[in-house]
Symmetry: C2
Subunit: 105 residues, 2 copies
């Protein structure tokens, strides 16, 4: 865990990188889950992978500018980055509308 997580400046985020981040089923599920509700804790995605693997995917999403990570005591809160909509208007909405992974909790 980190005190402060590094987040890329939105203007440096490339479209191809965002698409790559979304091209993994698990990462797409995570983003869909965030878009369907509020921010949530790191561990509340019931991802079928080891913690170290989930950490890797979270890092990819963070570096692609899709999500933020924030410390809350011993927890880590994950949330969608609102500025993404300014950078790539309509992208996330379109992709998630077409995504079959309407995962719940």
């Amino acid at each position: 865990m980190q005190e402060h997580y590094p987040h890329p400046e939105m203007k440096t985020v490339q479209l191809a990188e965002v698409l790559h981040a979304l091209s993994d089923p698990l990462r797409l599920r995570i983003v869909a889950a965030l878009a369907a509700g509020e921010e949530r804790g790191w561990g509340e995605f019931d991802a079928p992978v080891a913690p170290s693997t989930l950490s890797h995917h979270m890092k990819v999403l963070r570096q692609a500018g899709l999500v933020t990570h924030r410390r809350d005591g011993t927890r880590c809160i994950v949330a969608l980055r609102p500025e993404l909509e300014e950078r790539f208007p309509g992208l996330l909405g379109t992709v998630l509308r077409l995504a079959p992974e309407k995962m719940g909790a």
Copy 2:
């Protein structure tokens, strides 16, 4: 070259696979060029890679359901698949609107 190119059934095309195909800058450029005009010959994309590499990318785009390949004598004509719009409405339009690669000829 092939007499008949294999094209996947559109209903079997997965969103994640399409996103992955679009997540490479060169492939994104190729799709953008096709969307900006008509179908065009294989060799008319002035891609900065070896023919064998271009062939690889063309195969990825074909297998992801994005383009068709058609024989025309000794040439190969590449075109966007119109059914993609039925399968994933708005996706290609949204992505290409945001793509900086408005490449010409």
